[in-house]
């Protein structure tokens, strides 16, 4: 398999202080990669740098061989990168339908954007029932569905998901994880999943990456990380 995303020597941060230090990461097409680590490890900064919200001071980010460093944030969706930020990024003042349509406004193929919208309503039945409701009236699980659904309308090649399980009940977390796995199996979409909920993340991931203080300290098959007691204790603390 060829790498969809290739990160080399990435250094990035806020102001003068770098958060990510000389980071390398390679993700193949169709993989689910779980990025784990304690608070402050740099997981969110990694996603923000990949989607262009944070500009790297050093290193390269390539998607399908194309350098993304000069790509503006608003151009990233056109390159096939969807970023569902921490806190879900639902525009709470807009209705469910407006939030979803917003995800496809950039697309020139309007017919396919409409088709994708219908597919999202089929996939997330609770959203179809609450089309006209403003985002602030949704539950945490519904907001997560909305954020993921909105990203799907752009038919992304790479989805960056930041803490999708945050604040959700275990049953809802399991549903979200199953959904991500199904989506990958169905569409071949690549997923980079940042999670503190290690067990849930590893349950669907192909690869597990552990970060600490802005560096990747280990990268292994998710199955190995799940079953190897020594690795788990050393890097994941359980």
């Amino acid at each position: 398999m060829t790498a969809l995303l290739e990160v080399t020597g990435l250094t990035a941060g806020y102001g003068a202080a770098p958060v990510l230090h000389d980071l390398d990461l390679s993700i193949e097409q169709g993989q689910i990669v779980a990025v784990m680590g304690a608070n402050g490890a740099g997981k969110t900064t990694l996603l923000r740098t990949l989607s262009g919200l944070v500009k790297p001071t050093k290193g390269e980010v390539r998607l399908d061989g194309a350098d993304l460093r000069a790509t503006k944030v608003e151009q990233m969706v056109r390159r096939g990168v969807a970023h569902v930020p921490e806190g879900r990024g639902v525009v709470t003042e807009l209705t469910v339908d407006e939030n979803l349509r917003l995800g496809g406004l950039w697309r020139s193929d309007k017919a396919d954007a409409r088709k994708a919208l219908d597919e999202v309503y089929e996939l997330f039945e609770p959203l179809a029932r609450r089309k006209r409701h403003p985002g602030h009236q949704l539950s945490g699980g519904e907001r997560q569905m909305l954020a993921v659904g909105r990203a799907l309308i752009g038919r992304p090649r790479l989805m960056l998901l930041d803490e999708p399980s945050l604040g959700l009940a275990p049953r809802v977390i399991a549903q979200i994880m199953t959904l991500l796995s199904d989506l990958r199996n169905r569409s071949g979409m690549t997923v980079l999943l940042v999670e503190q909920n290690v067990r849930s993340a590893l349950s669907i991931a192909d690869i597990g990456v552990v970060m600490s203080l802005g560096r990747i300290v280990t990268r292994n098959d998710a199955a190995t990380l799940r079953t190897d007691d020594e690795l788990r204790h050393a890097y994941l603390g359980f």
């Binding site: 989607s51 919200l53 944030v73 608003e74 151009q75 990233m76 969706v77 056109r78 969807a82 970023h83 930020p85 990024g89 525009v91 709470t92 003042e93 807009l94 407006e98 349509r101 917003l102 995800g103 406004l105 950039w106 909105r150 752009g154």
Partner: protein
């Protein structure tokens, strides 16, 4: 009773202009979280341009169009050249820059056109129709109502029925998320300023013929009333701006008519105080929206 009916119609006519001007303040507040204290001065500048063209060509409507287009251009220019570079970490920075703009625009207008009042004609007769012995509305008042109604309707359509409107709302509420969804947030901000300034220019063209005429400070008092209207309505609410404008217009008309024109400014401040004490977010807004 006759007097009350007359004052009511007069108040509605004034209120329509305040509503339009308040709407222009709300548009910028929603887009950029800045109260644009320069809006009045910008409206006067475009009115000067409009009347200059009208006087040179003999066509009021050409001048009217120049004022509105001038508003669009000036609004976009102010955002791109000035406001974009203001450090928004403190809300006061934008206010201070806007106040500085007021001084610059008024000084430049004074240098070009002088500081005396210049006549500003109206496109329609300002003599009110008399029905049953009561003076009600003039043709110009009807024009004011029509113009303000058209602007409100167009803005409602823009924001609720078009992709650009959806982008503008999203960019105002959640800029980072909008950028991740492919929205050109900077472009939407510029458009917001342009539209707001054009609406402000319209308000200027509607109110200046009813006052003493063109003057660099011609919109100062109108700004205070319209700002009150916007705050009374809730700074985040377009509907609130319209309702607030009508409330302020009626209040000014009744107070001027029954108690005298000198009491009117105090009445506006009392209204502002009462609403802010009773409902800090305004009639249609929320506290969260105003302090955001």
């Amino acid at each position: 009773m006759d007097r009350f009916i007359f004052l009511t119609f007069d108040g509605l006519s004034r209120g329509a202009v305040y509503a339009a001007f308040a709407l222009s303040l709300v548009l910028i507040w929603r887009a950029a979280r800045i109260v644009n204290f320069a809006q009045g001065a910008m409206a006067v500048a475009t009115a000067y341009a409009g009347y200059s063209v009208a006087n040179a060509t003999g066509s009021y409507w050409l001048g009217f169009a120049v004022a509105l287009v001038g508003g669009l251009v000036l609004g976009a220019g102010v955002e791109r050249v000035v406001m974009r570079f203001v450090d928004h970490s403190s809300p006061l920075n934008g206010v201070v820059v806007a106040l500085g703009l007021v001084l610059v625009i008024q000084a430049v207008l004074g240098m070009i056109y002088g500081n005396e009042f210049r006549p500003a004609g109206a496109p329609f007769d300002r003599d009110a129709f008399v029905v049953g012995g009561i003076a009600l509305l003039s043709r110009f008042d009807l024009f004011v109502f029509g113009a303000v109604f058209a602007v409100v309707a167009l803005l409602v359509l823009l924001f609720t029925r078009t992709a650009v409107g959806l982008r503008m709302r999203a960019a105002a509420f959640a800029p980072d998320v909008s950028r991740l969804l492919g929205v050109n947030v900077g472009g939407m901000l510029t458009l917001g300023w342009a539209l707001a300034a054009a609406v402000g220019s319209l308000a200027g063209m509607l109110v200046i013929p009813t006052e003493l005429g063109l003057h660099p400070n011609a919109m100062d008092v109108v700004f205070v009333s319209a700002f009150t209207a916007a705050v009374v309505g809730g700074l985040d609410s377009a509907v609130g701006a319209v309702v607030g404008g009508v409330v302020v217009g009626l209040l000014l008309s009744y107070v001027s008519g029954y108690l005298g024109a000198t009491v009117a400014p105090i009445a506006v401040l009392v209204l502002l105080l009462v609403v802010l004490l009773g409902r800090p977010g305004g009639l249609f807004g929320s506290v969260k929206a105003r302090v955001a």
